[in-house]
């Protein structure tokens, strides 16, 4: 590659993180360290019932016996779990938007998420998680009318204890894996959604997470329940301020789709990826996301992962019921010194189950991008079908792309299709664009955007726009 092209590429992929700023808000923060006392304090502070505390403590006992997984294709300094603070929250508890600290609102303004405007214009309900506690929840009335519950996990534990107790840990058990066990012990807050039988949620549900307190682990716990025939689309988008310390993020998301229900879960993740020169200081993102689909239910994960120093994430679907459908659409970008090991698991249990996997990995700079996916067809899963497509794109010559597809078929009627490709943003493509008057920077954006198109098409409109912006691309498809 000619030097000037390389320069443009370097400049482009090395662009400094633009959402890096810190909000000055007073915080209640625990001293670093983790033991049963810390968990009890956390639980008490959140005024949780005894069963919740017991559940947390059992998870903690599980976690103590577990080891951090080492099989992923990622490298990082060992995490000292005793040097992390396990709770941080804005000091006052608030009842309405009027009481929200102007600084917090200003933070959202900077991020381009003005809550009030969103209420009035976008028709998107926002459960805004500022660090660990929800400070503003909107559109409750309209959702309540439809019978939809959309609130913070803390509220749900207090106000809808029976539902939480029934479903929490039913998809991702307490002791599922090291990070899920940690989350189960210390989860701070998150979102809770309940859509009753036959109800189509009247709006897209959206949560913006923002990690803010320095050196504070953020452990969201999200639970979405769609009853028979219900329909819900949930959006999760995140940015984080610039910080030097590594920040641990270990979320758990559980989805339960009852018979005939549909859950669509979309993520745009843009957490601080670390210093572009050294790779220091970025977010460690260890996430467990899983859904159970009953008969004729459908669960669809779409993710655009552009941030974090380390991403360890495998949104999965257990296709439990006959004729259930699982989908996974992913764009993962690793630039500078980012490492991403991400993919999905599709576990086919029921008959005539169908899963689709479309994964687009983009590596630039020194980035390492790994697709790791498992498709499992169990013995009784007659006529199961899977289509997997894993494409990797390399920008520059110092990055890497890796693909680990695991396929386990125990029923001979299964139909499996797997396609994989690796391409470089080719000199020929760039020259072709240049020779039509398009400069290299725009050409790279265009080529990358084209590469990701199948995934962007799955995102709800407003998120697709944000995703494209994230990849710094001018609008595709604005014509015609």
């Amino acid at each position: 590659m000619p030097p000037e092209t390389q320069d443009v590429l370097d400049e482009r992929v090395g662009r400094a993180y633009e959402a890096g700023f810190v909000t000055d808000v007073e915080q209640d923060t625990f001293e670093p360290g983790l033991d049963e006392g810390v968990i009890a304090r956390l639980s008490a502070l959140k005024q949780e019932p005894q069963w919740m505390l017991d559940w947390r403590l059992k998870a903690y006992q599980n976690w103590l016996k577990m080891h951090e997984p080492t099989w992923a294709n990622i490298k990082y300094e060992p995490i000292d779990y005793q040097s992390i603070s396990y709770y941080s929250a804005p000091k006052k508890s608030l009842n309405s938007l009027d009481e929200v600290d102007p600084e917090i609102l200003a933070t959202y303004e900077k991020l381009g998420i003005p809550l009030l405007e969103q209420q009035m214009l976008a028709g998107v309900a926002v459960d805004a998680v500022f660090d660990s506690v929800s400070v503003a929840t909107t559109f409750k009335a309209k959702l309540a009318e439809a019978g939809v519950i959309f609130c913070s996990m803390s509220e749900a534990i207090r106000d809808h204890g029976d539902l939480v107790r029934q479903y929490l840990g039913s998809v991702v058990p307490r002791g599922d894996n090291f990070f899920a066990a940690l989350n189960s012990a210390v989860f701070s807050d998150g979102s809770f959604v309940y859509v009753p039988k036959g109800v189509r949620c009247p709006m897209e549900l959206s949560t913006y997470f923002r990690i803010n307190a320095s050196n504070t682990g953020q452990f969201e716990r999200t639970l979405i329940i769609a009853e028979e025939g219900a329909h819900v689309s949930y959006l999760e988008g995140c940015t984080a301020p610039m910080r030097d310390e590594n920040q641990l993020h270990a979320a758990v998301v559980e989805l339960y789709a009852a018979e005939g229900a549909t859950i669509k879960y979309s993520t745009v993740q843009n957490w601080y990826p670390g210093d572009p020169e050294t790779g220091k200081g970025g977010i460690f993102n260890f996430v467990t996301k899983r859904g159970v689909a009953e008969r004729r239910a459908k669960i669809s994960w779409t993710q655009v992962e552009t941030g974090s120093a380390i991403t360890w994430k495998y949104p999965s679907v257990i296709l439990k019921g006959d004729d259930s459908v699982g989908e996974f659409y992913s764009v993962a970008l690793s630039k500078a010194y980012q490492q991403a090991d991400t993919g999905t698991k599709m576990i086919h249990v029921g008959k005539n189950t169908t899963s689709t996997i479309i994964s687009k990995g983009i590596s630039a700079g020194f980035g390492q991008n790994t697709y790791r996916g498992q498709v499992k067809i169990l013995r009784d899963a007659e006529n199961a079908r899977n289509f997997s497509q894993c494409d990797s794109m390399l920008i520059g010559d110092k990055c890497g792309a890796h693909t680990f597809p695991y396929i386990d078929v125990q029923n001979p009627t299964a139909q499996m299709e797997h396609e994989a490709s690796t391409s470089k943003v080719g000199e020929d493509q760039l020259f072709y664009c240049n020779s039509r008057g398009i400069d290299t920077e725009d050409a790279v954006g265009m080529i990358v955007n084209g590469f990701c198109k199948e995934v962007f098409n799955e995102l709800p409109m407003e998120f697709a726009v944000e995703a494209r912006k994230l990849l710094e691309i001018s609008l595709e498809g604005s014509v015609g």
């Binding site: 039509r436 398009i438 590469f451």
Partner: protein, 261 residues
Amino acid sequence: MTMLEIKDLHVRVEDKEILKGLSLTINPGEVHAVMGPNGSGKSTLAQVLAGKDEYEITSGEIRYKGEDLIEQAPEERAREGLFLAFQYPVEIPGVSNVYFLKAALNAIRKHRGLEEMDAMDFLTYVREKMKMVQMDETLLQRPVNEGFSGGEKKRNEIFHLSVLDPTLAVLDETDSGLDIDALKIVSDGVNSLRSPERAFIVITHYQRLLNYIEPDRVHAMVDGRIVESGGKELALKLEDKGYAWLEERVAAADAAAASGA
């Protein structure tokens, strides 16, 4: 003013010299055909004009509209009105043809101090141009060249040409791989784009194309140089006699030069 002036151009790729003192002058409104056997350097000339940087220009000069072309980046050349129709058009998956062209046209318009065209105006403009090359409108929404047949790719290049409205168009073997109907469509497109302000360099293997696109000048290229120039009758002579007589003449001249020196 002369549109393009190439003087004693020497070009190499790695250790191999490909153009060995090529000179060519083109005025506005003219159509020049460049013919020659495989490996004579025809496509290298096209790529060098467009600014592909794997070619090293060791000596000589290229002036385009009075300016030093060699100094300009490929996108600058394009914005100054130079267009290359590729011999092998490149595929860009996921990027629609219409989106690509709008970005290209607006980059060019911006450079020229014109307002960028909005989506509606652009569509109207583009539909007009499509008729000229009889392209199916579905090709507008399909990704650039992806899944296009050979003929569709070549027609698409002429379509790009008509949309971007260049002052100097270089057609690199646009006729190769075209059946007679497609050849006629492409030629009609080119002919309708001929104007007193625009010049063409048509690079081709075969005289056939020149039955449809009538050149003002024909150049025969052998071993990195233009060794014979003439009117359209030269094309017929080359068709009839091949290139051997020219190659022999070049070899004899080189031998004489070597021994005489």
